[in-house]
Every structure is written in structure tokens, then in C-alpha cells.
């Protein structure tokens, strides 16, 4: 039966019976007026150029779009012919409105409608500070508040900075190719106004294997350069070429093209770039490089006018300097706050002078705010996500507290610069919740029996006697118990990982992730059976909505449920990116 069915499908394809071509931008795309984008049509069969018909709002496309498409007779994946295509790169549409694009060739047809939107002529906000907590979920916020401020009789003993920024909207984070999502396509939606596929940044994901030829859309950095004289800053604790910071400036189908993203960063020339990831800046001959070519991007950035800082002291020395600044403080992702400031684990012995997110945000604000035209600053709390994947909740929460402290700096800045819009959001969520406490003082040796739920949970006994906003000790006797609703096989130890970040599962020779036996003999550890495929190494992103908060001019544009891509529209309107503000 299956065979007959397969044969029918094949013959249908060969006969070219009515089937849909694919048009990029996809149906219901929203496009900023005059912003360049690539238009592509993929046919499922090989067609003749003279058979391709494209109309826009019923007129020949050339009349409306003003340019002619390029015909590709055969697109291929290795030897397999995928079909014909037409491409028109760098297209712009100046006038707002709905554009119905109808395409046909032979029996293949497709109709999509794009909404082209303009913005107000004058900006509402001079500055925008976009705080992105990678993977920031409700549990991270709640845990950060309780760990940092404490709780008495059910009421928090203090408030986080983010607690005083009004919740504005719920954000739908799904990708164009899946209900689930990752940090590439989600940040790309925020930074371009277009949803895309998992792992893609600044492009629609086409069918060809080349990850750098996909149809591009404009990034916020490109729009700011095109229409304004504003400065641009990127601050992250991850590699600066990682998906989230990359999405401010880059175009690739594959977020792992990190060596290429470094080149795109240089092309975009953000005024301030601070974070980790130096390994992709070093030529391959330098020990520690992750490049596969001889390009020396440290030199290339210096040649382009950048000062380069590599530790906390060099960063501090740059607070008031002018000009372009590249700060790279780790070859890979920077160590997390718990390791950097308190436990001295991870790679802190090798890189002892890394600044934190607060230090970096301060330098970025001080430098960017010198621009009379204003600025756009993206600050990422990267390791909220990077520690949630390996189920290391203590590290994820301490990094959430650090993220909140950076938000505090922006709030202070906003007091004297009220023309600043602050947005605080996550890119996606994790399947994490707080279910109560773990109390070492409860009787017995079985850690599972020490989990307190409902009334038995009581309150945790973290203390912050030195008032630095972080708990003085993470391994207190009664601590919050956070749990993921998914993960690989692993051992639950019911304790903070004092020896370094948790590695729940490791890969065996069959490429399956198995529980890391390093934790098997921790007293009271229990085996937790995984519930995702064995190819999965860690906890995964959840599909739940993200909470977006905003304060300042333009914040009123966020409301109700919003697609992640619609957030860009509000940013564009606040900055009036539809209108030329430079001569």
C-alpha cells in the first residue's frame, strides 16, 4: 500500500499537477517601508523562464517593484535537482499597504500577501535599550526575587528592578518551520520584524544547502545606519558571535557560521561590542583559534578604528573614551556570575579578570550616550539560557540577578534621559518551575524525602547580609527547588553544583546521551529518566509565551498577544525608522 502511495506521489510531482511554489517573504510577512529585502520564488519542478508569471496587486511585478527577477533554471542539493527559482535581491517598497503577490509557472501557483508598514515621521524615543534575557522564564524571575530579596509570610522582602517595569505583552515565539524555537530565529524576529526558521538569522530559510545565500531581510542595525545617525551597542556574556548578539547585525541560515558572523559584525561596525568569543577572531595559526582561515579579526577591528579591551581593567579604562570599542573577555562564552564572582569555578582560574554584565552595560551606556543622535543598545543576559540547558538552576538564577542589576543601570539612566525606551524580554522560555524547597534538616538520608511541597516547603533561608543583591551562600540548608519538565537521562542531586556547571548527560559511542555518572555517587542522588530523544544533550526550550515588559516613550505600542516579529514594528515606530533622519 505504502509503495503504491509513494508511486502516486512521484507521478503527481512529475506530472506537475497543481502544487504550490514557495514565496519569500512568506505569506503575512510584515515589511518596513523602504527596507531592503530579497524576494525569492522556489518552484518544485524545473520550469521555463517564459512560463513564470508574477503579479503584484494584479499588475506586472516589474511595474510595482521596479526591478527584474533573476531566473535560476535548476537549484540543486548535491546532485538532486530541486526545481527552478527566481530571485530579486535588495528589493524595497516605499509605500505602505497590502501587496498581494501571485506567482505561477505551469501548474505551480502561489499567492501571498505582504503588509508593508510605515512609521511616524518623528521618533518617540531618542534611545532604545533592549534587554534580552536568553531563555528568561517566569521561574527565573521568581527565583531571582526570592534568592536576592527574601520572603516573609508570603510577601517578597524587596523588589527586583524588572519588577517595576510594566508587563506589556505576551510574545509568541514559534518559528516558521516549527512550533518550537531557538535563540537564532527568535532574536531575528525581534531584530528584523520577520519570523524565520530555527537556527536562521536575518534571512528566510530557503531550500539550497548554502547557508549564506538565503533571502535576506534588513536588521535593526542596518535600518538604524540607513535612516539615523544613532550609535549601536551590543553587550552579551556569550560569544559576541552567538545567535542573540549576531541577530542584531547578521544574515545566515545557520547560526553556527560564527566565523562569518564575526565578519558581518565588522561590516556593521557597531560602536560598542562587548562579550566573549575571541576564539573566532584569531587566525587559525594562533593557539586557541576556532577559525579555519588566516584572517586576524583583532587586527581588522583595530584597523577599522576599534580600541580592543580584553579584561576588566582595560574595559574600565575605556569608560569615557571616544570611538569604537571591541571588548572580548573570553575565548568562548564568559563564565557565569556564580563562578566569576563567588565560587571561582568554570574557567575563572584561566581568565580571572572577566568583567560582568553590569560592568559592560555601564561602559556601553557611558560611551553610547555621548551620541547627540541617540543610540540603540542590546544587552543580553546570555547565560540564563546557557545554564538552564544543563539544568543548573542556581547558576541560571544568579545570572538572572545580574541581568536585573544591569536593568537597574538603565533605569537610572532613564531618570535623567526620559527619552529612552527600555524593553525587557526573553527570546524564548524554558520548561522550568519552582515547586518548593529542599531542606537538608529534614530527617533521613534520602534527598527526595527532603523536598518540601505545599506547606512543607516553608521558606528558603538564603541571606544577603552584605547587601550586594546576591545570596551570601548558594548552598544554604533550605533552598529553592527548581525543576525542568524535560531533559536527558541524568542524576538529580538536589544540591547546587559547587564544583562547576552541571553536565547532566554525556554522549556514548552510539551518539546517545546517557546520565553523567560523575553525579551518581552524590549522597541521595536519584536517577531521572529522560523524556526527550536520546540525541538530546540537555533540557530544551519551551513553546510557552514570553513576557515582554517596557517603559518609556513608545512602550504603549506593546499590548496583548503579539507575534515576536511585531515587536520590531513597535521599535521601528519608536525610532521612526520609516523616516530619514540624516542628511
Amino acid at each position: 500500500m505504502r509503495k503504491i502511495f509513494a508511486a502516486l506521489v512521484v507521478s503527481t510531482v512529475l506530472a506537475g499537477a497543481a502544487q504550490a511554489a514557495t514565496v519569500y517573504p512568506l505569506d503575512r510577512a510584515t515589511i518596513l517601508t523602504a527596507s531592503p529585502f530579497d524576494f525569492k520564488v522556489e518552484f518544485n519542478s524545473v520550469v521555463k523562464p517564459e512560463d513564470v508569471k508574477i503579479t503584484v496587486n494584479g499588475q506586472d511585478y516589474k511595474t510595482v517593484l521596479g526591478k527584474e527577477v533573476q531566473f535560476v533554471a535548476e537549484e540543486k542539493n548535491k546532485d538532486k535537482v530541486l526545481g527552478s527559482a527566481v530571485i530579486l535581491r535588495g528589493l524595497t517598497i516605499a509605500t505602505a499597504g497590502d501587496y498581494k503577490v501571485e506567482v505561477s509557472a505551469g501548474s505551480e501557483t502561489k499567492s501571498v500577501t505582504w503588509n508593508v508598514y510605515g512609521t511616524g515621521a518623528a521618533p518617540k524615543a531618542k534611545n532604545v535599550i533592549f534587554f534580552l534575557g536568553d531563555g528568561l522564564s517566569v521561574a527565573h524571575r521568581t527565583a531571582a526575587r526570592i534568592m536576592s530579596k527574601g520572603m516573609t509570610e508570603g510577601k517578597a522582602n524587596g523588589r527586583l528592578n524588572l519588577d517595576d517595569i510594566p508587563p506589556a505583552a505576551f510574545i509568541g515565539t514559534s518559528a516558521t518551520n516549527a512550533v518550537a524555537t531557538d535563540s537564532a530565529n527568535t532574536m531575528s524576529a525581534y531584530m528584523t520584524g520577520h519570523k524565520t526558521a530555527v537556527n536562521a538569522i536575518g534571512v528566510y530559510a530557503d531550500r539550497t544547502p548554502d547557508s549564506l545565500d538565503d533571502p535576506k531581510v534588513e536588521t535593526i542595525a542596518e535600518a538604524l545606519r540607513r535612516q539615523t545617525g544613532k550609535s549601536i551597542g551590543i553587550v552579551a556574556t556569550s560569544e559576541v558571535e552567538d545567535a542573540t548578539p549576531a541577530a542584531v547585525v547578521s544574515h545566515t541560515r545557520n547560526r553556527n557560521d560564527k566565523a562569518d558572523v564575526v565578519g558581518m559584525l565588522l561590516d556593521a561596525k557597531p560602536d560598542v561590542v562587548l562579550g566573549g568569543g575571541s576564539a573566532y577572531f584569531l587566525p587559525q595559526a594562533t593557539a586557541g583559534s576556532k577559525r579555519k582561515d588566516d584572517k586576524d579579526y583583532i587586527k581588522l577591528f583595530k584597523d577599522a578604528g576599534y580600541s580592543v579591551a580584553t579584561d576588566k581593567a582595560e574595559l574600565a579604562a575605556n569608560i569615557n573614551a571616544n570611538g569604537l570599542l571591541l571588548g572580548l573577555f573570553h575565548p568562548g562564552n564568559m563564565d557565569v556570575t556564580l563562578d566569576r564572582e563567588f565560587l571561582k569555578k568554570g574557567t575563572v582560574d584561566k581568565y580571572p579578570n572577566q568583567p560582568g554584565l553590569v560592568d559592560m552595560t555601564k561602559v556601553a551606556l557611558d560611551r553610547l550616550s555621548k551620541d547627540q543622535d541617540g543610540f540603540f543598545l542590546m544587552v543580553e543576559g546570555s547565560s540564563i539560557d546557557k545554564m538552564s540547558h544543563p539544568l543548573d538552576w542556581d547558576r541560571a538564577v544568579i545570572d538572572t540577578i545580574e541581568f536585573d542589576k544591569a536593568i537597574g543601570l538603565a533605569r537610572e539612566f532613564q531618570k535623567t534621559n526620559p527619552d529612552t525606551l527600555i524593553v525587557v524580554t526573553g527570546d524564548h522560555t524554558h520548561g522550568v518551575s519552582i515547586i518548593g524547597t529542599v531542606d537538608d534538616e529534614k530527617p533521613g538520608t534520602e534527598m527526595r524525602e527532603k523536598v518540601g511541597t505545599y506547606a512543607e516547603a516553608g521558606f528558603p533561608n538564603y541571606k544577603d547580609e552584605n547587601g550586594d543583591g546576591y545570596p551570601d551562600k548558594i548552598d544554604v540548608t533550605r533552598r529553592l527547588f527548581l525543576n525542568a519538565n524535560n531533559g536527558p537521562d541524568h542524576y538529580e542531586t538536589f544540591r547546587p553544583k559547587m564544583e562547576g556547571p552541571f553536565v547532566p548527560a554525556i554522549q556514548n559511542e552510539k551518539k546517545e546521551y546517557v546520565a553523567n555518572e560523575q553525579y551518581k555517587n552524590v549522597p541521595g542522588a536519584v536517577f531521572v529518566q529522560g523524556n526527550i530523544p536520546k540525541s538530546g544533550d540537555s533540557g530544551v526550550h519551551s513553546v510557552d509565551d514570553v513576557l515582554l515588559q517596557a517603559t518609556g516613550p513608545g512602550a504603549e505600542g506593546f499590548k496583548g498577544y503579539m507575534e515576536q516579529s511585531d515587536v520590531y514594528k513597535v521599535l521601528a515606530d519608536a525610532l521612526a525608522l520609516g523616516s530619514k533622519q540624516t542628511n
Binding site: 576564539a279 594562533t286 576556532k290 579584561d311 554522549q507 560523575q518 544533550d537 540537555s538
Partner: protein
Amino acid sequence: MEKLFSLGFNRRSVLGLAAAAPLLAATRSAVAADSLGFGELYGKYSVLGLEFSEKVKKLAGRQVAIRGFMAPPLKAEAAFFVLTEVPMALCPFCSSDADWPDNIIVVYLDEKQTFTQPSQTIEVRGKLEFGSWTDPETGFVSLLRLRQAEYGTV
């Protein structure tokens, strides 16, 4: 520690008795090997590049013995495997093979050996080589390698 490295491998017994703990005592190796620890690979860590330790420079071209953990092969047909300091998830945070820690050693085996479980400590012996090198078949860039290597469980 010193005593351990005067003891050798017998590959047949390694394969045959993979689970037996005291198996390093089985036979004596003809070739003496200097020990090298994961903490001794670099003399200086810097954001702008690492510097190999004097010990690595001194031992280059000689037989060395290193203990660590075998990461799963990149490809079934790859002629090498990656030796890591701790059992590791392959790139714990993303889906790329590129993001290994800097303190890894690429091991080119003299003859094919069976792979061990990821939590099994192994000792690898081979000729130490340092400096950037790209594997022609896989494109994998390595800084430290053991050539003509063999290993046994510890």
C-alpha cells in the same frame, strides 16, 4: 603516579578485559613515556591566544602518556578521537561540532581500537605534536595531537 607510567599496555588484554581494573599491571611496555596532565598543556591563557607550556614544547616529538576521557567519534570513519579532561557532552549548549573546549587533545590511533564508554578513564600513549593542524578528511582543527597512539582503560 610515577610508578604508573612505567607500566605498559597490551592491547589484546585491554580489549579482552576492558572491565578489569588492575589491567595496567599486565605487561611492561618497551617504550618509556613521560606523563603529561591536562593542567600542563598551556603556559599562558589569554583572550588573544594561548601559549603552549614549556613542558609541551620539551616533550614534542616524544612518547607521552595522558589520562582523560574519550569523546564519542565525530564520524564513524574518523581516524581520530578527542581526549578530554572530563567526560563531556559534545558542545553542551548548541548543535555544532565546533565548540570544543581549548584543552582537548586529538588522538590518532596507530591501529583501530574499540571505543570506550564516555565515563571510563583511559590512558593514551603516543607521540606528542603541537601547533595548529587541520585534519584533511574532516576539517577538524587541533592544537595538540598524539600520533601513532594506543590506549587502555585505567
